[in-house]
Symmetry: C2
Subunit: 329 residues, 2 copies
């Protein structure tokens, strides 16, 4: 089963329909609360486990897509991207799936509100925004479920950026992955606040794609990852229902640390943290010991995402003046 | 089965024999290359897995032991220790096992060449030196195997400090732990050099005793720890035989990181690292990328132990002027 097979299954004859000149689309960054780490199918980006994220609403990627008569051209943050770069190639490999004919080229102008490729989920919002843009350009009028599936083919976690709020990514069981997509949950939690502490905006040394592949192949501890996820998902959904910040924060934080634990157990070991990451973790734990209800999660990068109740925003800003607060609802 | 049962089994009628006035004994610190993490019996300090260490020969604890007519008195580095402290109580609980009569008291004067209780294995050398001293004081003339078993009752890893060089701690299977002791291996490797980078000499926030208990009770990833240890022990013994520094270093390093991984997966998470720990780790990995064959291990603390070939000592000193080099052979 190839990506093209999946696309053909979804688009059918729609594939080579009419198109508009230029369209613009947006997709939010999403932060995993229960992590996605490891694939059951590396081609279709089908995950080993379910995962759960929260979308950052107004923070993400805006992509302008148009047709180009000459050749594929990609801009990132107004800068033309080298055709030999990985970034360029990932986008071209993705849009390859949608060309009405081989001489049909795209101009992709993408802008990120956040640093690119630094463990801040820019590829998730990026591929989702591009999927949204393709849907507009070709007037596919796809529903979110199918757009989610398409976005996943670009980058696994992109399938969660299709929705706002809490999003549950079903791992699914089918070989073609038609049951593996992001679905919005009905929970709203307007007090829940996310703050970003950027330790480094430099590109990561190892892609999460490669890192999770190494982990699942070499870590013995990873063998219990699925079981861990099942426990954590169940508990997190319970805490969401009750808006129980303590439980919610503790599960989120410990799930993230577990993911980083499986990386440490990988051969060779993978460590995304920088000294400042540990510094922040310790400061957060100190604050908690002093009665301030703040938790964190860390993705495949050195940066910290704080989780706390909106009422504590001023306290958090006092301790972390550099924090970027995110409005979700 | 209590500690006293084990002691009675070993000492028999020897227990209340004559004693000298004052004796002095030494035991080296040992650094685990394949870690001990988790107990099958928390009273007798019987481990879940075998482990393997190297003793630091001249770096350790010197203990002067004498009889006191009045009450137990403990000195650490020439300072009298408060009778309400944990340190005092651990020593008194241990010597309780050996009093010829209830009115028999000890004066224990212990000196560490290394910071106490900072993940630098001071309790291992400490309890082993105390065991050595007791053996002298009461003229038990015990063999190393039995002294190792006694030292283990004070602190698990103390059983490895009974010998120099490479020491293999058999987990054993017996309930009374008479098959669980440290045994010296015949391998010598005079080029193998250890360097200590002290990040912090402050006492750790959670004892390794408590940390490993929490890990084994709450970490799902820990379920595969035994399997991991079996693999690593086998590989490490192979690398020792061939004096293969690359393999030896890689296994040692990755085994340590795995142990820290199980801590991260513990609920609540345990992290002994400080920002400087990560800084050092990254510097070491950088050096390796630049062709310098240096590896590290980390125990239950923030400090780094470097592993390298003696011929690289000057290079290591150049990059880490603060390093404390250890002569092993």
């Amino acid at each position: 089963m190839t990506k093209q097979d999946v696309i053909n299954q979804i688009l059918g004859k729609n594939k080579s329909s009419d198109y508009y000149g230029t369209v613009t689309a947006f997709a939010p960054v999403n932060i995993a609360l229960i992590k996605y780490w490891g694939k059951r199918n590396e081609i279709l980006n089908l995950p080993v486990t379910d995962s759960l994220s929260i979308s950052l609403t107004n923070l993400g990627t805006t992509t302008e897509l148009s047709v180009n008569n000459n050749k594929d051209t990609v801009f990132l943050n107004d800068k033309k991207i080298d055709e030999h770069s990985d970034f360029f190639n990932r986008i071209v490999n993705f849009v390859d799936l949608f060309r009405p004919d081989p001489e049909f080229y795209f101009t992709v102008k993408t802008k990120n509100d956040i640093p690119t490729n630094a463990g801040l989920a820019s590829s998730a919002s990026g591929f989702c925004a591009l999927t949204n843009a393709l849907n507009k350009l070709f007037s596919w009028n796809l529903d979110h479920q199918h757009m989610s599936i398409i976005a996943r083919l670009g980058s696994g976690s992109a399938c969660r950026s299709i929705e706002n709020g809490f999003v549950y990514w079903h791992a699914g069981k089918q070989q073609d992955g038609m049951d593996s997509y992001g679905e919005t949950l009905s929970y709203k939690w307007s007090e829940l606040t996310i703050g970003i502490l950027t330790v480094s905006d430099k590109p990561k040394v190892i892609s999460s794609r490669k890192a999770m592949s190494l982990t699942s192949k070499t870590s013995l501890l990873y063998k219990n990852w699925s079981e861990r996820i099942s426990h954590d998902l169940k508990s997190l959904l319970g805490s969401l229902k009750e808006k129980d910040m303590k439980r919610f924060g503790e599960i989120t934080e410990s799930n993230a640390l577990s993911m980083h634990a499986t990386m440490l157990d990988t051969k060779p070991p993978i460590l995304y943290w920088l000294p400042e990451t540990v510094q922040y973790m310790r400061e957060i734990w100190n604050l908690r010991e002093n009665g301030i209800s703040v938790y964190f999660t860390i993705d495949a990068g050195p940066n910290i995402k704080l989780i706390f109740d909106k009422k504590d925003s001023n306290t958090i800003k006092k301790y972390f003046p550099e924090v970027k607060l995110i409005n979700i609802w």
